[in-house]
Amino acid sequence: MAALNLLVNGKRHTVEAEPSTPLLYILRNDLDLAGPRFGCGLGQCGACTVLIGGQAVRSCVRPVSQVQNVEITTLEGLSKDGQLHPIQQAWLDEQVPACGFCQNGQMLTAKALLDKTPNPTDAQIREGMKGTLCRCMTYYRINAAVKLAAKRLA
């Protein structure tokens, strides 16, 4: 066990854990953040996605010791001053979620995509989002929501 320093959604935390522990379990169990979720533990599905340095990162395979003192954003940190982020608002307006379990990863992957590619084509959305899975198959609505968010963010 070691003391680990984390900066999550603008707040500093010190937690006691094995340095090799994947970030996901620290976020969920020690910091009580429910946005990132366990889907595979293999970096294959995207449910555990967080943003680190603007990149969508799979927290289930990222040792916590590697992400000390860098800004980590979870779904909980996406809205500001009680206002939904335009991506979240688009998700609401397009009524995207079914069960919703994957939507943390969908929204944060979309955030990283739109930060890099503000006005993506269909092909860019497919390519940028294809590694983030949804078993309720809300893909069609996600596609529409990404475009709506892009329009509003422009």
Partner: protein, 773 residues
Amino acid sequence: MIKNSSRREFLQTSGLLVASVAAISVDGVEAFLQRPAAGAGPYPDPDFRQLDSWIAIRPDNTATFYVGKTDLGQGTGTAFRQIMSDELDIAFENTTCVMGSTDITVDQGGSGGSDALQTDGYPMRRVAAEGRRVLLDMAAEYFGVPVTALSVSDGVVSTRTGDTADRTVTYGQLIGGKKFNVTLTGRNIDATTGKAPLKPVQAMKNVGKSPRRDDIPAKVDGTQRWAVDMKVPGMLHARNVRPPMVGATLKAVDESSIKDVPGVVKVVSRGNYVAVVCEREEQAIRAARQLKVEWTPPATAPFPTSEDLFTYMRATPTSSVSEPVVTGDLAAGFAGAATVIEAKYDVPYQGHTAFGPAHALADPSNGQLTIYSNDMKSYGMRTGVAQFLKIPKEKIRVVWMQGPQAYGRTAAEDAGFEAAFLATELNRPVRMQWTRQEETSWDTKGPAYAVNMRGALDAKGQLVALDYDARAGDFNHVGYNEADTVLIAQLMGQRKTPARGRASYPNDKYTVPNRRMAGGVVPMPLAWETPVRMGNLRDPDGPQVTFASESFVDELAIAAKADPVAFRLALLDRGTGDDSGFKRARSIACLKAAAQKFGWDTRTSPRPRSSGDIAVGRGVAYAYRSETVVAEIVEVEVNKRTGHIWAKRIVCAHDCGLVINPDALTHALEGGLLHALSRALYEEARFDQSKMLTVDWITSPTLTHADVPEKIDIIQVNGDPNPNRPDLQHYGAGETICKPMLAAVANAVFDATGVRMRRVPFTAQRVLAALKI
């Protein structure tokens, strides 16, 4: 429309939280309503014959509905609020719905069978109508006028006295915070009723509108708490250790192999069931990986390889046969035919493969047992766990919370039993979490089907005989939450006579003069402790059956040189018998609606070959289930170089009778269409002769963003010849949608390429191989 902010504000000011948040908030509602403190237990069954078990009204004129259903992410809670607020005559915005927790909602069975509205919607409507009747009686007494002098809207009762101003009183003023104390009747929960009649459809204000789903805001803003997020003080983390070879017997557990892992509380083994329980989650993950367990391999292979599956299924004697359904004289029909064709269709085992692996938390505090679970049959879990652990049912409650999609009998049940077992073994709260590999391997499967089809046309191309003969790999189909068939019970050595399973038949409404439908079940060598165990998966065998029957109807149309839509319409049109329930009329309406929306041009298949890598084609298929009709048309692009199929456009015409929330229905149908498309293109449980080979998202691929159709059109048809009848029923909309897709895609691939795909899934590799023949 509920805006996020107004909804949240409402929840805050009313002091109410929806059931999905957490048990604590549900208990808060209970406290408000001055019910017995259910939190501490025991937990007797809520009395379905008491109106107070269903509806509570507060002084501020808001209401909460308590229903014994669960939701799989289709927004059924919002639909229940729509139908119940209409019958009660209260503002939709001022209602909430609590669902599926066994201690505070009556046992409506949770979810399953697409019956949420078809069956369970009726007691909900009747109790709400009864609430209205009782409140109007109270208002009549309050005003000193007859009920006939009253009107009610949005929970406000008005009277016109003629010579004075209108007088009003709210439901909240009449009964807010107090109990109804009204006894209902009905021999069972489905039959629950008061004295009040239901409203005619035309008098319903919220039904048919699309208020936004109330479960979505929290899923978007990150405040949703799921079963997977539930924590209680002193909670431990558990992981299972499964046998590496199916059918293996536990020989020895070497606990010293994890002595360097911190936080290990206990290694539990019973029969072939092994689990580790640790203080922290990452410790449990490490301990489960590191624990040395010796297993004795089984004497015989548990199953053939998945590559040999269909050969095995056609060669192995059936363990049971289904009663054949015969019309006319099949032999005579074939004997007099001008053309006879036959074909074989194969659908493999496919898993639920829930996006979030199975999980549950069991808390044995206060000498009771509370299980937090997303299992769609929370009531069944309570009964099953009581039997399994030999605890009185009244000491157990299952608090239903939201979870990852899982349409059917999933491992959520298994995890619930495992958490309950471990919690009682350790007398501490235990959270069970399956791994991805465990979920993909060990979750129950939808049965494989091997179907032989044979058909005969006369000289005019009319279908005169049709033979359907299915072999279903449905042996030992496990039920829901059964104490002696859940995986932990099997691994502990529980055995009962395996369920026989069934071979299902097509349920189209075609008229065929000579027709036989027959089938039998094929057993696997190993019945127990195997991941090739059958459990209901979204329309349990409809996609398999309909793949064979609707692909073959296409083959018959082509043999008759007919257009595939026209051929089907003719088979429906020539029916002369009583069209009870308008089954044929509604089937015709759906097929026509889909064809019109698609812009279907009448011709036979395949279309003329094109040059270039991309071949384009269209395919149709149709199905019927529980009074719901679906016709689907898919346009595909087949890449002849890579073998990849893209469903570019999907048109679906859907008739489920009265639609409660059109947008929520469209959403659910989009998901169902694409789930079935995923099953058509990618999904197959693969195994060698000792273990599953599909264990994660790489080995077990699913549809991704890359596959999204360019356009999905859903037409909600109401094919009832009298669509405005006041008693138009709401049929089950959930599962029928999954039936036709496999055949529609195969038919479209044939139209594009002239190649017939008769083996699911249509992987790029199989398409390429077929194109080369």
